[in-house]
């Protein structure tokens, strides 16, 4: 696992907010459509497979991701690419009844699963989660609204990562942070080989038992197309974060990137990006 934190100037870019109506039809590439369909297909068994493939470790990594977001009671937080809602439920406990959790995903099936799980939970704080179908590249939120943003196993699947990072920056309040958890694209040959071997010989064979062979083969290619810790740090800084740091965890299979507190001023935003190596696609 790995995590990255970054701080950036808070002034949203002057990019035009108003886009042509034509953008409605052309903004989503076929690659994004294919990924959306993939995550909808795996939705029914997603949680179960996460438990099996990570031996339950994904729960710990997600708790770490939420902790590093520094979400606290009363905060307004965003869980981007929320899937079936694991991080959103953890965040809801952090912010409590006085806080708000907005959970966004582009798969309606994943959101329906998340909403059903919410109905089955008894803690009052879990009612503070609002589910929204949305695109990480065009977030439907006002500027500078959230005290923290988390992304769990999501950024890797986004077609235009720089744009997604800019959107995260836009919706964050000055001085707040983002925590992004995902597989780590290691620069170590040993770690990369181990990761590849595990996907080919453990993950895909297990997923094939659910008829999801091709879906989980996507995992390997998505990691190959992802960014290393250094590249992610650069990405965060280019998006406007004033500082960004990526940490590898779990013997290089995971990592963490943290922000620099001294850079936090009213003019600065910060973010944390975390990456981990196993468990989810």
């Amino acid at each position: 696992m790995a995590a990255l934190t970054a701080a950036i100037p808070s002034a949203p870019g002057p990019a035009a907010r108003r886009r042509g109506v034509a953008a409605v039809r052309c903004c989503s590439s076929s690659a994004a459509d294919e990924r959306q369909a993939l995550f909808s297909r795996i939705a029914p068994v997603y949680d179960h497979l996460n438990d099996v493939l990570s031996l339950g470790q994904h729960r710990t990594w997600k708790r770490i991701c939420v902790s590093w977001s520094r979400a606290k009671r009363g905060d307004r937080v965003l869980d981007l690419c929320c899937g079936s809602g694991d991080l959103a439920f953890l965040l809801s406990q952090k912010v409590g009844l006085d806080g708000q959790v907005m959970a966004v995903d582009f798969s309606s099936q994943q959101l329906q699963t998340a909403a059903s799980r919410q109905d089955q939970r008894w803690k009052p704080c879990h009612k503070n989660i609002k589910w929204i179908e949305g695109d990480a590249l065009d977030l439907p939120f006002v500027d500078c609204y959230f005290d923290a943003v988390t992304v769990g196993y999501g950024l890797r699947n986004v077609v235009d990562k720089p744009k997604a990072m800019r959107e995260i920056f836009r919706v964050l309040k000055p001085g707040s942070r983002a925590s992004i958890l995902d597989f780590n694209k290691s620069s170590s040959l040993f770690t990369t080989s181990l990761q590849s071997w595990m996907i080919d010989n453990v993950v895909v064979p297990l997923a094939s038992g659910y008829g999801l062979t091709e879906e989980y083969k996507y995992l390997k290619s998505s990691i190959l197309q992802y960014l290393t810790g250094k590249e992610l740090e650069e990405l965060a800084k280019e998006a406007g974060f004033s500082a960004a740091k990526h940490y590898e965890l779990g013997g290089g299979l995971m990592g963490d990137l943290e922000r620099c507190d001294q850079n936090q001023t009213p003019e600065i935003k910060s973010g944390t990006v975390k990456y981990q190596h196993a468990g989810n696609i």
């Binding site: 907010r17 108003r18 886009r19 042509g20 109506v21 953008a23 409605v24 039809r25 903004c27 989503s28 459509d33 307004r76 708000q100 907005m102 582009f106 309606s108 959101l111 329906q112 909403a115 059903s116 109905d119 609002k130 589910w131 929204i132 179908e133 949305g134 695109d135 065009d138 977030l139 439907p140 939120f141 006002v142 500027d143 609204y145």
Partner: protein, 91 residues
């Protein structure tokens, strides 16, 4: 049965625009224009007047993926603009 009740509750909680929770009304904007959304009671959707696009609400979940937006034809847009039932969703 339980699921339906939960959905109805989600629709009614909060007293925000058109039965949408107030928390959402404060935070949401059009994903394309970043301008305010307007809740259209007749269609049960969120309308972005800035780009003339309507976004559906399915089972209480706003669907604000840009490609899911539906272009409003001119007459429909005018009719909705004149509707007294519609409520401003986000100012």
């Amino acid at each position: 049965m339980r699921r339906t009740a939960a959905l109805l509750l989600r629709h009614s909680v909060g007293g925000g625009a058109g039965g949408i929770p107030q928390a959402l009304a404060d935070a949401l904007v059009c994903p394309l224009s970043k301008k305010p959304l307007r809740y259209c009671e007749s269609s049960g959707s969120l309308v972005s007047d800035a780009v003339g696009v309507s976004f559906p609400i399915v089972d209480g979940i706003p669907c604000l993926v840009p490609k899911d937006g539906k272009l409003l034809d001119h007459d429909q847009e005018k009719a909705e603009d004149g509707s007294t039932k519609d409520s401003s969703y986000n100012q």
